[in-house]
């Protein structure tokens, strides 16, 4: 009997992880580690981890990683990429509160400079770790602890679509939004991640992959309800598609 699927070497040996049950951060971090293992990059990859739920990944990943100050992961990755040996693969792993709110300046300028790094952006429409506050990506009408009556356009503005925003810049070479709500979506996400890392190896430039996730705990739902909500509402607002592939 042959083992056809085993836990990737990119994750540390099994232990009860820190993510809430049904959180897609677990799926995404596992996919990142699997892609790095498949591409044989575990020895020369460095992950710059943002602040938020993505910090929990620093317990999972079994390759080099460092934590950046809140929102500054693209800036740290830029310095790391320029200073490290040429064959080092540098990528950031950030959430939407980290990248789209506090770190908006860093991501815009790293993208505009066309830095040869890969950005893994996990969008769960809320600030997960701090207790479910409204994020820039929270949907219109979606309740959060700081918008108990739902997000209101007149007061809070519209959700921010980072792929579309970055698509206005000239330098990025690869921008794609994928969803992890089903096994098929996870496999597509892995392909996008692979493309992002390959672009970096080929020296092409800035790659940005947005992965849609849910947050069962802060949305106040069971994992299956949150997946249904995601398909019904989140994925309609944040359309899954490839924006750019040069």
């Amino acid at each position: 009997m042959e083992k056809i699927y085993s836990r990737t070497k990119g994750l540390q040996a099994p232990f009860t992880g820190g993510f809430c049950p049904g959180c897609f951060h677990g799926v995404i971090s596992k996919s990142v580690a699997e892609v790095l293992e498949e591409m044989d990059l575990l020895d020369r990859a460095v992950c710059v981890i943002g602040v938020g739920c993505c910090c929990i990944c620093s317990r999972y990943f079994d390759f080099d990683k460092m934590n950046a100050p809140h929102g500054r992961a693209p800036a740290v990755a830029t310095g790391l990429k320029h200073g490290a040996p040429k064959d080092t693969v540098v990528f950031t792993y950030q959430g939407d509160g980290d990248l789209a709110s506090i770190g908006i300046a860093e991501i815009m300028y790293a993208a505009n400079r066309g830095e040869n790094i890969t950005i893994v952006f996990v969008n769960n429409s809320t600030y997960g770790m701090t207790g479910g506050q409204m994020a820039p990506t929270t949907l219109i009408g979606q309740k959060a602890t700081t918008s108990p009556y739902g997000r209101n356009v007149a007061e809070h503005g519209y959700p921010m679509h980072m792929c579309e925003v970055l698509n206005q810049l000239g330098a990025p070479v690869f921008i794609e939004r994928v969803s992890c709500d089903s096994p098929a979506g996870v496999l597509k996400a892995k392909k996008a991640l692979q493309k992002g890392f390959q672009n970096q190896l080929d020296g092409k430039g800035f790659s940005f992959i947005e992965l849609m996730s849910s947050c069962p705990t802060n949305w106040g739902m069971t994992p299956l309800e949150s997946v249904a909500f995601m398909r019904e509402h989140t994925l309609k607002e944040f359309e899954v598609k490839n924006f750019r592939d040069r």
Partner: protein
């Protein structure tokens, strides 16, 4: 004959594997693991086709598949 192995300690009973299994091989069990979750168990091993859907979606990497 394919075989699904679930790590009962790291499973968090999120049910994503159960809902994504096309052959209804998995279900949530009735006993708790040390963290207090009613971890997923294999209830219909013979129906498994080793499609790996459960393993791909598992957020905790708790599932391993043999064929």
């Amino acid at each position: 004959m394919p075989k699904v192995e679930i790590n009962s300690v790291t499973c968090k009973a999120c049910e994503l594997c159960v809902s994504n299994c096309p052959k209804d091989v998995l279900a949530l069990g009735s006993t708790s693991n040390p963290s207090g979750y009613h971890f997923a168990v294999v209830v219909n091993q013979d129906a498994c086709i080793a499609c790996k859907m459960c393993a791909v979606i598992c957020p905790d990497g708790a599932i391993e598949i043999y064929k």
